[in-house]
Amino acid sequence: MYFESWADFWAMGKHGLYVWSCYGIAAVVMIYNIWVPLAQQKRFKQRYLRQLRREAQQQ
Amino acid sequence: MLTSLCWNNLSGDGLPVVTELLRVNQLVCERDERLLFKGLNFTLNTGEMLQVTGANGSGKTSLLRILATLTDDYEGEIYFAGQAIQAVLIAYRQQQLYIGHAPGIKGPLTPIENLRWLQGWYQSLSLHTIENALAKVGLHGYEDVPCYSLSAGQQRRVALAQLYLSHQALWILDEPFTAIDLKGVQHLESFLAEQASQGRSIILTTHHQLNVPDGLVKKLNVADYGE
């Protein structure tokens, strides 16, 4: 491990703010990219189920 | 300049002689996930009129736009004089005249200038021929009036004046009678019938009953091939 202690690791030698904000933004972008298709699929399934139920009632 | 086009029997002066002009089989057209028609077949011989009927939105205009090669967003085959249309596209486009819903008449230009542009890429026209074509559609005296001061019916007559100028073998007319008065309609119907008897084939969409010798007209209801 390059840094002596965990505190050193978080501080990153006075550049901690920049490094961690970058990684934070990266994490947000990645999670957003994963979340959007999953949410889309879930929303679509619900819509399809409702449609199925409506058709079932009509018969 | 007929590129890549071999005809079955050539007439005396080496020009191709054709009887079956257009054959369409298994045509399928979808518009925004809505099936307009499928399995549509018809053949159009020279000297025949095909009246395309059907309710609004049943795909009449889409069919005409497909036949006019305006859109290639369809499945199925179209044969022009026995050749697949993609192979003889240039020859086909030389032989077709398309007048759509919006006739393509520019307001600031005079009828003569409009016709010179509309027919400009098929043939070079002398002023005299344009003037008597305009006279035939009843626009005598309006030759040099800018089209925005003409009525909608007159503007459509300017577009229809192309029929008196064109040598094409196939005419595709989308609602040619809209905004034309009664006398004009009868005059146009008799002209179309006379042209058809001389071997020209005409595809047109109209709602009213064509009073033309019935041997000439074939009817095609697009709705029959719908959902």
Partner: protein, 241 residues
């Protein structure tokens, strides 16, 4: 010669005008159309003039400062004027059905598209060229940079028209496509802007500007050969939409 179907056979006479001839007809029609609408002809140069006069008012009338600013201001104003005029290129034809007819002519669409863009450039791009020296005077551009300014605009504005026409062809089917057109095409204008201003800045500092002008000529030839294909494809897609 009546065949067995006793249907009158039709001899098909090949009939078509040469591509060059047909393109000439479209060019003349568009020029005549443009001159018939005198009122609209004055808009691009007027816009060009007004935008350039805003800068001395907005920033500072000090000649030394303006001289540094002049190339960029003139080029950006020319770029915006071309972009604004671009929407009218196909919209008029699209609305009255003339565009559909243009798409089914026997001649290759490449020629007609080139003719239309040339006509549009003659009506909107050329006046900017004529007006540019006057505006350079107003912005106290050093006198040795005038010829380079004209040369860079002469090479640049047709390129701007060609690139803009691609956007116009793609957005002609959309109702309020004007704003979208600028969003699509501005990134493509950036190299032309950089080279154009670079040439004029170099000339005003007395440095040789031949390199930038030659690069503009390279991009213009690239545009002249490739852009009409993209424009034709865009128009076909809009028509079949």
């Amino acid at each position: 010669m009546v065949s067995e179907l006793n249907v009158p056979a039709l001899t098909i006479k090949p009939v078509a005008v040469s591509p060059g001839g047909a393109a000439w007809i479209t060019l003349c029609r568009d020029l005549r159309l443009g001159f018939r609408r005198q009122a609209e002809l004055i808009n691009p140069p007027l816009f060009f003039l007004i935008v350039v006069t805003l800068f001395p008012l907005g920033i500072s009338p000090d000649p030394a400062f303006l001289a540094k600013l002049a190339p960029g201001v003139i080029w950006i104003a020319a770029l915006l004027a071309t972009l604004l005029a671009m929407d009218s290129l196909f919209r008029g034809d699209y609305e009255d059905g003339a565009l559909d007819l243009l798409l089914i002519v026997p001649q290759p669409l490449f020629m007609h598209v080139l003719a239309k863009v040339t006509a549009h450039w003659l009506l909107t791009g050329l006046p900017l060229l004529v007006l540019a020296p006057i505006l350079a005077l107003m912005l106290s551009l050093p006198s040795q940079a005038y010829t380079t300014l004209i040369a860079s605009l002469a090479l640049g504005t047709p390129l701007l028209s060609l690139l803009g026409a691609i956007g116009a062809a793609l957005t002609v089917g959309i109702r309020r496509g004007g704003m979208l057109l600028s969003l699509l095409i501005l990134p493509l204008y950036i190299p032309v802007l950089l080279l154009g201003t670079g040439a004029v800045v170099a000339a005003s500092e007395g440095l040789p500007a031949a390199g930038q002008l030659l690069w503009l000529a390279v991009l213009l030839t690239l545009g002249l050969t490739l852009a009409p294909f993209a424009i034709a494809a865009g128009l076909k897609i809009t028509a079949s939409g």
